[in-house]
Amino acid sequence: MARKILFQQAINEALDQEMARDPSVIVMGEDVVGGTGGDGEMDAWGGVLGVTKGLYGKYGNRIMDTPISESAFVGAAVGAAACGMRPVCELMFIDFLGVCFDQIYNQAAKFRYMFGGKARTPVVIRTMIGAGFRAAAQHSQSLYPIFTHIPGLKVVIPSSPYEAKGLLIQAIRDDDPVIFCEHKALYAMEGEVPEESYTIPFGEANVVREGKDVTIVALARMVSFAQKAAEALAKDGISCEIIDPRTTSPFDEDTILESVENTGRLVIVDESSPRCGMAADISAMVAQKGFEFLEAPIQMVTPPHTPVPFSPVLEDLYIPGPAKIEAAVRKCMEYA
């Protein structure tokens, strides 16, 4: 039965259902139980934003708080995965993954390749991305291109509650390491989600809106911004097709190329930094494989190449919002 729930409830439900289905699924991370020190179990918070709330009561020791030692517990999760468990490891902010990068890109990502295809590393690393929370430069980045760059990792970026649940279940069942990026600003987003377990395959873009004039590719929070821009543009008779790749690795090139073949125009909206980011990557792919379809230069809507500002005024200016997307689409339309 489908009903409306929040993005963060969708994540919780995916964890709950997979833990119930498969005893090898475990959850670990900083404060994912919360409040269990001493006799505090009754207060279990379920993470800084309450995403894992209720799981401790149901699954006990299969959900565990870890010390603030990312390299230790991410390494432990990778090792547990290599030994047959399916850990879902939460690393609060993607900004902190730097301290355990060896465990991720030099260990987890490489096992399948370096052990002759005989090793599996079914670990999921859940982590928050995105600006807009007044949390300053060290808690606001969208570093998913760094992980997309590394062969052997899968990178998943849901944009709605429906996507969040189906992609997380898929991630848990996947036999490779998955970096699962949750945009903070989406946790309170409400959407229709089936109660039953379901999966969304990796490498299949979602066509969020069909249109014929311009293709907009957007990820995570940028999808809803693109929708706002598309609604405004529709009033002026400009019809936008919005594509959400949903995973940056593996990546669905075909859906984007087919769309650009129809529209002839491409705008890419990406909250990661412009240099070596997803917008640059997608732009290069289309320039190479879809050049003959293009009737206008590809437009990239990204933040400037700076750290995320702490000043609220500057942070708002930093984020690629609907107005910037609208302007980029109009620029495309100037080429007849």
Binding site: M1, P194, E196, Y198, T199, P201, G237
Partner: protein
């Protein structure tokens, strides 16, 4: 409101979740004299594109909605009126209509579709019911379908009946744990559903596999069946397109599913991306692949049907009609030949397997006539 000779054409409600529709193009010019069933305009919803057919006879005087207009259900699309009504009267009518029109989303709030649930033998069954009074009608979809397959029919038939549409076990949002995936097992669920809904007897309308299910209900509980309307039914002949069923079960992507689903219709444009996405979402629900395999095994072996219920129709007395598109690529229309005289056979020209969608107004008329 005003002049009774003026008949409004309004945005239809196709299915419970439809809130608004987009006008694609007018197929009837101003000044066309329309008969019920004539094509008036193409409308696209987020789920499906379809041709709106005239419900009443009349002269199309005004196309109010323009192509690409997105309008809520009940909004004014056009105006029919005889020549005797002046243009000024039509203008006044339109002004008055627009001034008093309240979009249903604003009037009722965003309540979403009114799905109901029944527990039949431990299996959760989703259903909807439309209509206040009159005999009960039960709409039974086919393999891989759901109650949404009746989105052009349920409201129309409900004008003079209480019309139930259900999701068979393993389908739609019904439970995916199937006790007995055979046609007899599915028929037992339909009878159980009638018990739980307090329906003593009903007109059964079955499409494809649902046709075989309806026939099986008539075989095991004849007293509970007022009539049978069988749309491109399974169960009355041997041949069936086994590749369609195998392709439906195996398809993993839009690319796989599109050519498979296009076999269902004569006009492939009916198979929109949204429709394909919805079916993929359904297929990716835990338990669905197993349920579909089990159900397929229950009534089909390769290109042959395993269930022969043709004899049910021969057992005199039963009121039945068979409706079939002559372009059916799933179950051949030739199986409608040679049925006993008490069975009315309607073969619709240029229509595929999904007859209730592709020829909705003709099918609706036939379904209402059976009541």
């Amino acid at each position: 409101m005003g002049n009774p000779a003026i008949i409004p054409i309004t945005m239809p409600k196709w299915g419970l979740s439809m809130q608004e529709g987009k006008v694609v193009e007018w197929l009837a010019a101003e000044g066309t004299s329309l008969q019920p069933g004539d094509q008036v305009l193409d409308i696209e919803t987020e789920k499906i594109a379809n041709t709106f057919e005239a419900l009443d006879a009349g002269l199309l005087r005004r196309q109010v909605a323009k192509p690409d207009d997105v309008l809520p259900i009940g909004a004014l699309l056009g105006v029919m009126a005889p020549d005797s009504v002046s243009d000024a009267d039509i203008d006044a009518y339109i002004t008055e209509f627009q001034a008093s029109y309240v979009p249903p989303a604003e009037a009722e709030g965003d309540a979403g579709p009114d799905y109901r649930w029944a527990d039949i033998d431990g299996q959760r069954i989703r259903y909807t019911v439309v209509g206040e009074a009159g005999p009960a009608v039960i709409l039974i979809h086919g393999f891989g379908g759901d109650l949404g397959n009746w989105l052009f029919n349920q409201e129309a038939v409900a004008a003079s009946a209480r019309v139930f549409a259900l999701d068979l076990p393993g389908h739609g949002q019904s439970g995916k744990n199937i006790r007995d995936a055979s046609v007899a097992g599915l028929a037992a669920v339909v009878v159980g559903f009638m018990d739980s809904a307090g329906v003593a007897d009903a007109h059964l309308v079955g499409h494809s596999l649902g046709g075989a299910v309806a026939l099986q209900v008539a075989a095991t509980a004849p007293a509970r069946v007022l009539s049978l309307s069988l749309l491109a039914p399974a169960g009355i002949g041997r041949e069936i397109n086994g590749r369609y069923l195998a392709g439906f079960i195996a398809g993993e992507s839009r690319r796989d599913m599109k050519p498979v689903l296009q076999q269902l219709v004569a006009n492939p444009e009916l198979i929109t991306r949204q429709l394909i996405d919805d079916i993929l979402k359904f297929k990716r629900t835990d338990g669905v692949p197993q349920a579909l395999e089990a159900i397929a095994k229950g009534f089909v072996d390769g290109d042959a049907q395993r269930v022969d219920l043709r004899g049910v129709l021969a057992n005199g007395g039963i009121k039945a009609q068979v409706i079939w598109g002559d372009k059916d690529a799933i179950i051949p229309v030739s199986q409608s030949a040679g049925l006993p005289a008490n069975v009315a056979v309607h073969v619709l020209a240029g229509i595929g397997h999904l007859v209730q969608m592709e020829a909705s107004s003709q099918v609706n008329t036939l379904l209402k006539n059976a009541l």
